[in-house]
């Protein structure tokens, strides 16, 4: 029944609109019951965040420019994390999502080694929250125990709720992910890539489109739009030019 819908959920991220405010990171943290990151986690390199903003500096002073790129699970069609899991804890579902099944996971962390984008998180400890926050956890999302992997699910709970509420008449743009809602500049667009009229499909055909690490042939469902650089013709332009193919 689900297969008939033939959906392929995807995302388009316009890096030109991203100002690196980290609103999406916080929204994701709240929506998906991700434990808070304290100093110890940063020091030990065990930060949990399903979406992160990578920052790159370009150019020499005074013509220096910060570039931001939000990175989350790319939901690759040809995902390197999937074949290596011995227990099928991660697999591709028929809606184009790379799914993590927490109950099956035994924590070999093999998928995380396979992932070229390093977006898979491992629960080294049992997750804990301060008492005040415990009452604010999202009841739609499982709390992951220690010893298992987790990663961006493209707000699976929102997709399911949207489908349930709309029945057959699911309109494009009806389902919004948490990061998309939180993005002040509207850099993130979510939708069905198989629907040729959806906003994501139109945006994904843009001249500015590119995907991360195309040389690995992972075929991600997350498409990035390159920055439009006003300084392109000046001394900074070289990198932006290569991005715009």
């Amino acid at each position: 029944m689900v297969a008939e819908k033939n959906r392929s959920w995807g995302m388009v991220i316009d890096t030109d609109k991203c100002n690196g405010c980290s609103g999406c990171v916080t929204a994701c943290q709240v929506e998906n019951n991700i434990p808070l990151n304290d100093q110890n986690k940063f020091e030990r390199g065990r930060v949990m965040s399903w979406i992160r903003i990578e920052r790159y500096w370009e150019g020499e002073f005074p013509n220096v420019k910060a570039r931001f790129i939000p990175i989350m699970c790319q939901h690759c069609e040809n995902a390197p994390c999937e074949p290596v899991c011995p227990v099928y804890a991660t697999y591709h579902n028929n809606e184009g999502l790379n799914v993590q099944v927490y109950n099956r996971c035994v924590g070999t962390r093999y998928c995380a080694n396979g992932c070229p984008y390093i977006v898979r998180m491992f629960n080294y400890w049992e997750p804990t929250w301060p008492e005040e926050i415990r009452n604010h956890l999202n009841p739609d999302v499982t709390i992951r125990s220690r010893g298992i992997m987790e990663k961006c699910s493209m707000c699976m709970q929102r997709i399911k709720r949207g489908e349930r509420n709309a029945g057959d008449q699911l309109q494009d743009g009806e389902i919004k992910t948490a990061c998309q809602e939180a993005c002040t500049t509207g850099a993130i667009t979510f939708g069905d890539l198989n629907d040729p009229e959806s906003e994501v499909s139109i945006l994904a055909k843009s001249d500015r489109k590119y995907s991360l690490m195309p040389q690995l042939n992972t075929n991600p469902n997350v498409v990035y739009l390159a920055t439009v650089d006003p300084y392109k013709d000046k001394n900074l332009g070289e990198k932006a030019k290569t991005n715009e193919h």
Partner: protein
Amino acid sequence: MQQRDNENRLSQEYTNSVLLNGTLQTPKWWPYLVSILGFFVVIGFVLFGIQIKYGLGVTGLNRPIYWGLYITTFVFWVGISHAGIMISAILRLTQAEWRRPVTRAAEILTIFSLATALVFPLIHAGRTWRIVYWLIPYDASRGIWPNIRSPLFMDPIAISTYLTGSTLFLFVALLPDLAVLRDRTTGFRKGFYTILALGWRGNPRQWKMQVVGGILLSALMLPIFVSVHSIVSWDFAVTTAVEGWHSTIFAPYFVIGAVHSGVSAVVTMMALMRWGWGWNEFIRPEHFDALARLLTVVATAWLGFTFLELLFALYGLDAPEIALREMQIFQYPWNMLFLTFLLTGYILPVPMWIFKRIRTNIALMFWSSILVNIGMWLERFLIIVPGLARRTPFVFTWEAYSPSWFEWYILFWSFCWVTLLMLIFSRVFPLVPLFEQKESEVFSDDIKIGRATVPTIFREEEE
């Protein structure tokens, strides 16, 4: 007791009494060593329990260095296990006579190191208590089968096949010795050996079946010789995204490295057997000499593969791959480890083995074989960790790895555990095969060629 008969051969009674001195009597040091090792082993189990209770946060692992000391040690012990198959199967099929006194020790080393290697994925996994879900290929509770594409699922299958084969092989080779023990013990132990000896009386039919069984098992186990460590290497080789792991040469490279470390571990064991039980007349400098010659060849082939691996990596002129190699070989602290690895794995021990005086010097052979295994452990570490600690384009994920004392203890524990198991085994079964020893005494002779006396082996050829 008369040690040698008229033809200057060790008498069978003498052989029995000396080689059973660790089995029928308890060596003085045995109880002390076993209790000390037992203490360390118990602490290891307690620490493992703590890790299960609180999670893998007790290790020094992080993101993206998800695999560390545990997997390194896993690969190391699988490597050590190649000693058994090399010495008892390949040397048996090629009729290398000098293998005889070390076959059993090598087999035991194989079995216990494999059992230890099998434990490491359990220690390493996040939810050890669910491991039964993937180790048993049966869809009992989940309705789905394990993922056969994953090398991590092929690992337990290959290793348990090897373990089963080695155990059968060991048992077949133990049968005549079990009968010897049965005839020399009383009470509970006699009953135990009687059951295990399967009614062995040493008649020609039984001997024939025992020999045929041994040869068949060696031949059947030959494919495992290639498969086990190849599969372990695929754990790394199939990850397209990790530079330094994604290499096509890994399977043969790992196999030859495993033989290098495994045979060195047998040398270490032989020295310890001489010192611990005083079997100087059975484990002789000639055996060290022969093993060191074998090791020289294996080590040199392995060194060739080490450089080929680098060559394969650099041949593509892929920038991230070159950056990784630059880090692995030239950047601190990896450069120190790399230097130690090259020195201990090849440069120090192997040129020593060129000289016969060193090859027949037990203490030097002992220490050089230990050096090799330090180097081989570092080899695995230098493959696994720099690959994960590579500088990806995503700067916010760059991390370093420093193993916690917990991981170091589990590494130490694995050595205590293997040694403890071998010591307990030595108290129940003879570590040097009595019948093989006697057989070689019967076959061997000295012939005079001119003024020189040359030790030779006589075999009856079937017409």
